[in-house]
Amino acid sequence: MESGKGEKQSGASILVKLLERQGISMVAGIPGGANLPLYDALATSGIRHVLTRHEQGAGFIAQGMARVTGTPQVFLATSGPGATNTLTAIADAKLDSVPIICITGQVPSPMIGTDAFQEVDIYGMSLPVTKHNFLVRTTEELLEVVPEAFRIAASGRPGPVLIDVPKDVQAAQICVNQWPEPGQADPYPALDLEAIEQAAQMINEAERPVLYIGGGVSQSGAASAAMCLAMRSSIPVAQTLMGLGAIPRDHILDLGMLGMHGARFTNYILEECDLLISLGVRFDDRATGKVEQFCPDASIIHVDIDPGELDKIKTAHVGVTADAGEFLAALMPMVEAKARAGWLSRVAELKAEHPFRTPGARDPRSPYGLILEAAKRMGEKVNVATDVGQHQMRTAQVYPLTKPGQLLTSGGLGTMGFGLPAAIGAALADPDTPVLCVSGDGSLLMNIQELATAVEQRANVKILLMNNGGLGLVRQQQELFYDNNLFASEYTHCVDYVTIAKGFGMNAIDLAHASDPGAALEAAFATPGPCLIHAPIMEPENVYPMVPPGAANSDMIGGEHAHSEPCTA
C-alpha cells in the first residue's frame, strides 16, 4: 500500500488514478449522462482516450490492445444503451479468453430499480458473458474492486470483467489514505508432477502422437516450448484458429489448422494418431467435428489453465491444470528424443495424397491469391486482423503467419464486425507494427462507423475488403446444405465502398481498376496511415474443404480435386 495524500477526491478521480496505477495509458469509449463524472476526471489525466463511434467498437479496440499487449485493457460506456452495446464485445472476449475491463456508468444508486432514464441492469445482463462482474455500491469499494477486476481479468484463463459504477459513486468525495497495490495475475497453480511424468511416459511410448495446440499456448508464451517438444520427439503439430502462428507455416511438422476448414491431410492425420497432446485447447466443435469420432484411436493428454476445460467435452487419460509453458518446462527433461521415421513418413504420405488446394493462389484477383499477395507485400512485421466469414477462413488457411498471437480473429463467438476495431486497437497499442485487416463486405458494414475512429487516430490499418456482394459463408452453407436455396445471403444493392471510405476521410483504392494489383497493394501499404483496399471477388467460390456441421472431421466435402493448384505460399 502506498499512502495517498489524504485530501478528498471524487470516486471518478479515484477510478482514473487506479487505472493509471494499473499502467493503463489508453482507453476507448463513449461518454454519456451516467459516466460524465468519469470523463470529467479523465480529461485532466495522462490517459489517452480513443473516442469511438459505437460502444461495441470500443470493446473490440480494447480487445485489439489486449491481444497484442497480453495485458488487461479498459473501455468505457455510459448506462442503458451504452452498456447494452458493449455486450457482444464482452461475450467475444469471454469465448476467446481476452482480458478486458468494461467500466459502465450507472444511474445514481437511489434510482436503481426505478426504471430511471437509461437504466438497465447491466450487472444482470453481463453475468453470463463475463468472467466476473461488479456493481460498485460505495466510493470506498472502488479501491478494492478495481485492482480485483484487473487481478481476475489477468489470472488463470484471462477474461472480461465488467464494473458498473453508479453516478453518485463517481461523484462522491472521500479521503484516500492508502492506495491499494495494483491487481496482478495470481501465480499459477502448483504442478502435478506425477501427472506430468505420466504424460511424458505416454509421449515416449506413443507411436503416432500429434500435438493439438490452441490459444492457451500463444497466451502463455509457450509456442517456442511447444516447438521444442515437437522437434525433440518428432511430433506433428495441428493448431486451432486461436493457436495459429505458434509454428511457422513451412515447418515440416506443421499441420496447419484442424477442423471444419482444415486441410484434408490434417484431419486424416488426426484420425490416425494414437496420442493427442492437447495444450491450451478446449475441444471446440469447430475443431473436433463430431466429437465421438475425433481421434478415435488416441489416448488424450489435456493441459489447460482452466480446470473447467478438462473432461468437459472429452475425457482425458491425463488431465493437468497448468499453464502450458510451465507444463512444458517440467515435461521436457523427461521426453526422449525420437525420430519416429515411420510415423513421419506416414504423415508425409497423407500430406502428399491429400494436399491442401488453393485454387487461384497465383492470381491476385482471386481470394487466395489476393491474401497471399497482400501477405507478400506487407512483409513479416505485421499483425493480421480478420472479420468473420469465408475471408477469415481463407486467411486462417494460408496466411504465412510467423508468430503466435499475430492473428487477431474472433474465434469462439465468430463476431462479424470484430476486424476493423480490433485492428485499430492493435495498431494503437503497437504503433510500430502495421495491421492488415482482412474483411468481407458483410462484416465491414457491422462496424463501418469506426472508419472515422481509424482516421481520427491515424491508426496504421490497411483494410483489405474482399467484396463478394453478400454473406459468402452463409451463401456457401445454403448451397451445400439447403439445396442451393439462396435466400437473404446476397446483397441486391451495391455499396460504393471506396466513396464511403473517402467520405470518412480515409485513403482508398479499388483493385478493380488496378492494372497491376500487386503494385497497387504495395503502394497502398507504403503510405502511412489507414487505407481501404477494395477488392471485388467476381465469382462466388466456396471455402474447402468443409466438414458439414455435426459431421465427423473425416467426412470433408471438397478440396480434393487436382484442377486447383497447390499452395505456393
Partner: protein, 109 residues
C-alpha cells in the same frame, strides 16, 4: 385443491446430491450461482441460503447426480464469490425434512 395422494417430489429416478457452498454474502451472489446452473442447462431442484457470519453465507443446493455433476462442481468452484464447494454425505436429508414444511401450506389450501 389438495390431491388425495401427493405425488412424490421427484418424478424421475435420478439420485439427488446435496452441495454445500460457502459464498461471499452480497446481493449478486445468488444470481451468479443460479445463472451458472441455468446457462449450463443443469437442473437445480432445491436451494437454501442463510448468512452464517458477517460477510459469509452458506448455500445448500439439491442437484441431480448425473455425469455432468463433476463439471458443474468445477464451474461453480470457479465463481469468484464461491469460497468452497463440498458434497454433503449420502446421509444428509436436510431437504427431505424441509419438504414436509413446503408441502404443508399447499395441502391446507
Amino acid at each position: 385443491m389438495p390431491t388425495a395422494n401427493p405425488a412424490p417430489h421427484k418424478e424421475d429416478q435420478t439420485a439427488m446430491v446435496q452441495l454445500e457452498l460457502t459464498v461471499r454474502n452480497h446481493p449478486g451472489v445468488m444470481s451468479h450461482v443460479c445463472g451458472l446452473f441455468s446457462r449450463r442447462a443443469y437442473n437445480m431442484e432445491g436451494i437454501l441460503c442463510m448468512p452464517v457470519q458477517p460477510g459469509l453465507s452458506r448455500m445448500w443446493l439439491l442437484v441431480p447426480e448425473d455425469d455432468r455433476l463433476k463439471q458443474v462442481v468445477t464451474q461453480v468452484s470457479k465463481l469468484h464469490d464461491v469460497l468452497s464447494v463440498e458434497r454433503r454425505g449420502a446421509g444428509s436429508d436436510d431437504f427431505q425434512q424441509l419438504e414436509a414444511f413446503f408441502r404443508q401450506p399447499a395441502e391446507a389450501v
